[in-house]
């Protein structure tokens, strides 16, 4: 076997391995879709069929009529957008500050950001529950936003710090010689260059917020305040499990974010991995 032939065999083997791995992703997701277009009768009939005899899109209508998912989606959008905007604002400032200055307490600040990754969210959940009850923040958007920024601010700050590090510091020095104030340098010179990083950070913060489960489970039990993951999670506890409805709603709330992410993936992935590769 020549070298060229061997290379070709190797690539074929790699291709087959990747195709098998992809099947483990594609098959469950397609099964989700297949279930969502089945009627109750066909969903619970054997042998299993990929394409149902009667294709029914009713589940996609029932999401909006039989369940309060319209409300849940609004709640999630409101809370997660609020948390994302707040964390983006403070993390741009903090990321810029930590990347440009060696101020007293900088190490402590960065260490604290890391430590926030280590404690279980449950550790915050119990004090939150008590504090928010006292302050009347249970079942309010404000309470949920407060809880969500506890994990989106550290994440966003790390990502923004990584992005600011990649912008040459000579730019600051040059502007400072021209007499610009520190804040103007940040706002008018560096921030416009950091906008792509800020966009990526906002998307990440939004995704983790959108997917959050346990805070919302405890802090927003009122039907008017529930978020999407909590709404989905509780479907499983119901007496009659309507898998077709569940799969329909699961797809509806997941696909938009997945599409946005995949569309921008090149760019989002590099901003996530930059810190890890540099070490």
């Amino acid at each position: 076997m020549t070298l060229k032939q061997r290379r070709r065999w190797q690539l074929t083997a790699v291709f087959i391995a990747l195709a098998i791995a992809s099947a483990f992703v594609i098959v469950p997701v397609l099964w989700m879709f297949s279930t969502s277009i089945k009627t109750i009768e066909e969903m619970f009939s054997l042998p299993l069929k990929w394409i149902p005899d009667t294709v029914s899109w009713d589940a996609y209508k029932r999401i909006w009529t039989d369940y309060p998912f319209g409300q849940y989606i609004f709640n999630s959008l409101f809370v997660v957008s609020g948390a994302t905007i707040i964390s983006l604002l403070v993390s741009c400032l903090a990321g810029y500050g930590a990347s440009r200055f060696r101020f007293l307490g900088r190490t402590a600040f960065l260490t604290f950001l890391l430590i926030t990754q280590m404690f279980p969210s449950i550790m915050l959940l119990i004090p939150y529950f008590k504090l928010m009850k006292t302050l009347g923040l249970i079942n309010t958007y404000g309470g949920l936003i407060l809880a969500y920024v506890s994990f989106t601010i550290p994440l966003a700050s790390w990502l923004m710090l990584g992005y600011f590090e990649s912008i040459p510091k000579e730019l600051d020095a040059a502007a400072s010689i021209d007499g610009a104030s520190r804040f103007r340098i940040f706002w008018q010179i560096i921030m416009p260059l950091a906008l792509p990083g800020a966009a990526a950070t906002a998307i990440y913060a939004f995704i983790v917020g959108w997917n959050e489960y346990i805070f919302a489970l405890v802090l927003a039990s009122d039907v008017k305040m529930k978020t999407v993951p909590v709404g989905i999670g509780e479907l499983i506890g119901q007496y009659r499990i309507a898998w077709n409805d569940m799969m329909a709603v699961a797809l509806v709330v997941s696909i938009p974010l997945i599409a946005i992410f995949l569309y921008l993936q090149k760019y989002l992935v590099s901003s996530l991995t930059a810190g890890a590769v540099k070490g």
Partner: protein
Amino acid sequence: MVSQPEELKSKVSSRTYIDKTQMAGLWFALPAALALLVVVAYPLLYGFYISLFETNLLNRWDFVWFKNYARIFTSADFLGTIFTTLKFTTGTVAGQFFIGLTLALLLNTKVPGRAFFRTILIVPWLFPEVVVALLWKWMFNPLYGLFNDVLLKLGVIAEPTSWLGSTETALPSVILVAIWKGYPLVMLLMLAGLQAIPQEQYESAEIDGASWWQSLWFVTLPNLRNVIMISLILNTVWWFKHFAIIWVLTQGGPITATSVISIDIYKTAFESFRFGPAAALAVVVFFIVFLISIGYQKLLGERQ
């Protein structure tokens, strides 16, 4: 030599720029720092405070010193829970690591369609945890689940199995779902690490007659050390305290087969309303996670 003073001046001014303004950074970091003090530091301390009480958070606040902690370390249940958590974490992190690294190596070749494969393989990571759990709960359905159907057709099992319903298979099944959800992040990190390795190192290894395995061991893995460390630490920390997937899949059952520490804390606090012991458990988890990450750093740091 007219330019010399000019040069000197600009050097001096950029020096003072650095020195004089260091504290300005504090102002930039202040909003984030204050926000984290309010939403993280204060509640954490308050959580520790709660852990010193026997309380329902309403009318009963009995100060019991460290009795909640003493009870944790002397109870057999706690050891069982920690053991289950360790099994879950080890299985999940190891599985994600091997699958993530393997797929990254496969994607880092000139295989046709690699952009397509990469896109597909990221997808599980993007689904919300609750959705992943729901999907697999349906896949694992004993009667109408696709999982049993495929295994029956392949002849792996002889009759439908209730994967989540038996104490023996529940934990491995939950681990499988966690691996499915989380391997893409490891894959992306490893892939970025692989792409940063200078090609010359492989070329010189090839000239020295290194086999594929040898260049993996002597070139690839040493270069990935940082990425491997970061992904192992983050993953261990994340999955050690994981809640959502297990809660939706099994609620910790059957019996206590999948009752990891987060589930135990949740049930103690919000089902039994014993907030003191639950808060104490949470503090203990924090220290375990802290020790684990220090241990990793020591372990992987010494290799160099």
